[in-house]
């Protein structure tokens, strides 16, 4: 019992540190990738290839003054960023990150909490992460903030149904809610990947995932051109940084879930070992998010709602029906 608790705590701390560091590195990658796609250089001046820019940004964020606006609701204003960051990491707790491996003769399963309803837990925890922007916008006594939080509610009410229904068809095929079972069901190589059986669900899940992490085609919470910075208008320093870390951790989580459910997870492909395979897949999905950001314009809130409820939801339901009929 004690060994289990210590192991879990160590795993949690390792995941927290690694993913926070990766979130920082993600900002650098995002700026570089966007820059190359737009024929610019991106960050170049701090360190070789601008690599130390992450460090400089970190120092800037930590040392900036932490401002709470005069008429804001202080408590809620200060708690809101923590909700986003915490729920992003809580969601990651139920994701099996790598295959089992042995370190100093001790077998480690790289999952913090092995729930047998893993996928639902991940989606639920990520959904509650949207309370961060919602509360932040309502607490800051700023009109842009209120608009941002209203858009958060719209975003949530739009994408949630598509995520749930699109993931339902793969769940029906695998017959389990555990992400490890999803991974094991696709153990037979590339031909067994869920994406060949469920291409529609894969595309829909990716679209909903972009909305869930509020990435670019659907980042209506913080359009600079329309609502200044939406829910984050009044934030500065580390509180703003926590929103940022939460967003990047969510991107990593969605990439992990997409690669576990649809493209074979951490099963080895040919000569590529399992842990490398999943890192490659997650990197690809992360890159895809940046790629889409560089190529597509924003959508309006009403367009998002129209897309989710009138286009995507009927498609998911038809997909579930067809899957059910085939399975019968």
């Amino acid at each position: 019992m004690d060994a289990l608790i210590i192991e879990t705590v160590v795993k949690a701390i390792v995941v927290l540190l690694v993913i926070s560091a990766l979130a920082g590195f993600g900002t650098y990658l995002e700026r570089k990738v966007l820059a190359f796609m737009q024929r610019r250089l991106g960050p170049m001046h701090v360190g070789p290839f601008g690599l130390l820019q992450i460090l400089a940004d970190g120092i800037k964020l930590f040392t900036k003054e932490d401002i709470v606006p005069q008429h804001a609701n202080r408590l809620i204003f200060m708690v809101a960023p923590a909700i986003t960051a915490a729920t992003a990491f809580i969601a990651l707790a139920a994701v099996p990150l790598f295959p089992e491996f042995t370190l100093f003769g001790y077998t480690i399963r790289p999952i913090v909490a092995d729930l047998n309803v893993g996928i639902l837990f991940v989606l639920g925890a990520m959904a509650s992460g949207l309370y961060g922007p919602l509360l932040a916008g309502m607490a800051q006594a700023n009109k842009w903030g209120i608009i941002g939080s209203a858009r958060t509610a719209i975003l949530f009410l739009s994408y949630e149904v598509v995520t749930g229904l699109s993931i339902l068809a793969p769940i029906m095929i695998v017959g389990s809610l555990s992400l490890i079972d999803f991974n094991n069901a696709q153990a037979g190589g590339i031909g067994d990947w869920m994406v060949w059986q469920q291409p529609v669900a894969f595309v829909l899940f990716l679209i909903a995932g972009f909305a869930e992490t509020n990435r670019t085609p659907f980042d209506l919470l913080e359009h600079e051109a329309e609502v200044i910075s939406g829910y984050a208008t009044e934030y500065s320093g580390m509180r703003w940084g926590m929103f940022f870390i939460g967003e990047y951790a969510n991107m990593i989580t969605i990439s992990f879930v997409a690669s576990l459910v649809f493209v074979g997870g951490f099963n080895p492909i040919g000569f590529i070992p399992g842990f490398l395979a999943i890192i490659l897949k997650v990197s690809f999905f992360f890159f895809l998010m940046l790629w889409v950001r560089a190529s597509w314009p924003h959508v309006r809130p009403d367009q998002l709602m129209w897309l989710c409820w009138k286009v995507l939801m009927p498609i998911t339901i038809v997909n579930i029906l067809i899957t059910g009929i085939v399975l019968l």
């Binding site: 019992m1 008429h71 609701n73 729930l115 309803v117 309370y131 919602l134 009403d302």
Partner: protein, 188 residues
């Protein structure tokens, strides 16, 4: 360990819901409501009912989010709200009576003969399977009736809300503005 978690969650839940009831601030009330709903799912996890815990999380997170959007429309979130309390004693009395009634209702079977699981979990079935087995065998009819009721409610909601659905408020152009104000008046 489990007892510690149970008492922690109990104190947190009761405290948060007390804030929901007693606070004059919309933001505090709804935040504590959402947090309380999330913490209730902890009880399901302690009992080993992972599936129900996750469902509690997903369903109530969405439901309270919809409440928030109403709160955003009707109140200024940063101010205290003056509640109209016509008769505080009556409210106190009725609330206390309802709470007492609920306690009696739920504790009657425990005091009577103790709770026995009528449909014990079949061996080897995991959480969602156990729920599904009971739902689709013993409780099939209530389950389907609930589904039909939800469908009726959904259709009623669409009919009530969808009167002028074909002209969108966000994409209207200037020429149609006059027409739109007329139609809004008609609705009132």
């Amino acid at each position: 360990m489990e007892q510690f978690a149970f008492y922690l969650f109990s104190v947190l839940t009761i405290g948060l819901f007390l804030v929901t009831v007693l606070s004059n601030n919309v933001l505090y009330a709804m935040t504590s409501l959402a947090a309380g709903m999330v913490i209730i799912s902890g009880f399901f996890f302690i009992l080993g009912a992972d599936f129900l815990g996750v469902v509690q999380l997903i369903v109530y997170v969405g439901a309270v989010m919809a409440l928030y959007s109403f709160g955003m429309m009707f109140f200024d979130a940063t101010r205290e709200i003056k509640e109209k309390n016509t008769n505080a004693y009556l409210v106190f009395f009725l609330g206390g009576m309802i709470a007492l009634l609920l306690v009696v209702m739920f504790s009657a079977p425990i005091a009577g003969e103790g709770i026995v699981a009528m449909y014990p979990t079949p061996e080897g079935a995991n959480n969602p399977q156990a729920v599904g087995l009971v739902l689709f065998t013993k409780y099939l009819v209530p389950f389907e009736v609930a589904a039909v009721m939800l469908l009726v409610a959904m259709i009623a909601g669409i009919i009530l809300a969808g009167k002028k659905m074909d002209n969108s408020l966000t994409t209207k152009d200037e020429n149609h503005e006059e027409e739109m104000t007329f139609s809004l008046k008609d609705v009132r």
